[in-house]
Amino acid sequence: MSIEVIKPGLLSNLVASGRAGFRYLGVGPCGAMDSFAMKTSNYLVGNNGDATTLEMNFPAPELLFQEDQFVSLTGRGFQVYINENTFSSGKPLLVKKGEVMRFEKVEAGSRAYLAVHGGWKAQEWLGSFTTHLGVKAGGYMGRVLQKGDVLQTNGLFQQINETKALSWGISKNELDKIYFPSNEIRIISCVETDLLSKESKESLLTVEFRITGQSNRMGFRLEGKKLVLNESIELISSPVDFGTIQLLPDGNLIILMADHQTTGGYPRVASVIKPDLPKLAQMSPNDKINFRLISLDEAEGEFQLREKLLTELKQACLTQYKNYFKV
């Protein structure tokens, strides 16, 4: 036994690295909305970045620890409560058996990732442990958590003396590199960018867009100025990806998110660069977005920088973990 779900929260689901190799059958990768938070949460408890974590939204779940555990919480907007004690996110936590963990919203942000040493036990489907909510496969029985569910862990953890936060963590300085400036999302040109009218191309980069309430794990719908093409065109279905920005027939934009369909027939007018997807994933309805266009070369450079940062964080966390637990 490990932890019991006392309150399920909204859309709490187990996520791991995405499913690769099945887009040709219409099965997309899925995986974490904020992969930076997922990976760093794992690093903090001595895991590989791709171990299964619990993705949570607001309202957040309440969890009863049935065993001593070594966990960590990352993401934006969440603060941990154990009894009346608060713990900020971004640090590893030792939690005693019998404790109840709950969460409150303390700042901007919408998702958090609870990692456990060894990773949460999950069902594998097509080579990945991440939940596919559409097919109802992978993760925890292919679904979001419900009251009474019991999550098991893959690793055993030693007994601990008291509930407390450990000293290491992800610094604010590092987090700012990922999540600030908070409204700016960098994009590069995509396959059908040149079909946009000259005026619409300008609007895309100058107008402030608002995320609407019709937004979920599949896509974020935006409202701002309506954009138009030079001439109307009927496109046949073609591949899309996490971060692809499509122009809908009504002139509004949609940004495809982690649970996107594999193909689509709407013009792909821009792509959010991969390093800015975690920032985007932390936004909520009514948040504002300003797009900034960068070149493909710059985007490749940013991609490399992000991977370098993740490698450094992984090394740093692992060293701290080994020193503390003498392993």
Binding site: F22, C190, V191, P239
Partner: protein, 235 residues
């Protein structure tokens, strides 16, 4: 050879090879040949490729892709080069290969069968005869996990999508949208004109290869009665 395709970034970790905005068997064969070639001879950093009607998305890790060629500065340029070479050297024989035809039983009792018949001034039996008279190609699988886009449908039964989609279409429903025909792998919202349903599970998540139909396959529908439908029913 004249270059009849383009390679453009879908994003910084995916390239899109496009052969134009067409529904054409020869073009689609090229797409699928390239897809298969990449599985057989991947470049360093290759993750997966996804074929559609006339385009192929090639997903890669830009850091690994650049490491294998120090002369090239951009990962995209490296991948583009590799794809252009691959397209020049694609085996031509592949394009001529005849597929085995997969038979799909259909009980033609769809809610829109009468609408399709009325639109084209045909009897129900004529619609069924026309729909079952052709061998269809699976151009791509997309939209939903396991949804096969097949065609092309005879113009005598080709029918535009419904103006307002149904909120729930049962798994196994066989539909027509323009010159395309398809099968719903799971119960989902959908706007295709429903003409019947197949008792075959075309998507089964419990199987290691969950899809009955793959891109490039050839299929033929055949009509069955209610009794045979029940005998064959896999749902």
């Amino acid at each position: 050879m004249r270059k009849n395709y383009s390679v453009t970034p879908l994003n910084e970790s995916a390239a899109l090879v496009s052969f134009g905005n067409v529904i054409d068997e020869a073009v689609n064969q090229k797409v699928i040949s390239l897809h298969k070639f990449l599985a057989y001879k991947p470049f360093k950093g290759f993750v997966e490729s996804a074929p559609a009607y006339s385009s192929l998305a090639v997903f890669y890790n830009p850091i690994e892709a650049i490491q294998s060629d120090t002369k090239i500065k951009s990962s995209f340029d490296f991948v583009k080069n590799y794809l252009e070479n691959a397209l020049t050297n694609l085996p031509q024989a592949e394009e001529l290969k005849e597929n085995q035809v997969i038979g799909i039983p259909v009980l033609y009792d769809g809610e829109d069968l009468q609408f399709v018949a009325n639109l084209h001034q045909l009897t129900l039996d004529e619609v069924i005869a026309i729909h079952t008279s052709k061998t269809y190609r699976v151009f791509m699988v997309g939209f939903l996990p396991g949804f096969p886009y097949m065609g092309t449908v005879d113009e005598r039964v080709a029918t535009p999508r419904k103006n307002s989609p149904r909120t729930s279409v049962p798994a196994g429903s066989v539909g027509i949208a323009g010159y395309q025909t398809g099968i719903y792998p799971q119960t989902s919202p959908g706007g295709w004109q429903l003409i019947g349903r197949t008792p075959f599970k075309i998507f089964d998540k419990e199987k290691s290869s969950p899809c009955l139909l793959n891109p490039g396959d050839s299929i033929r529908f055949y009509a069955v009665g209610k009794k045979d439908f029940e005998t064959l029913n896999e749902y």
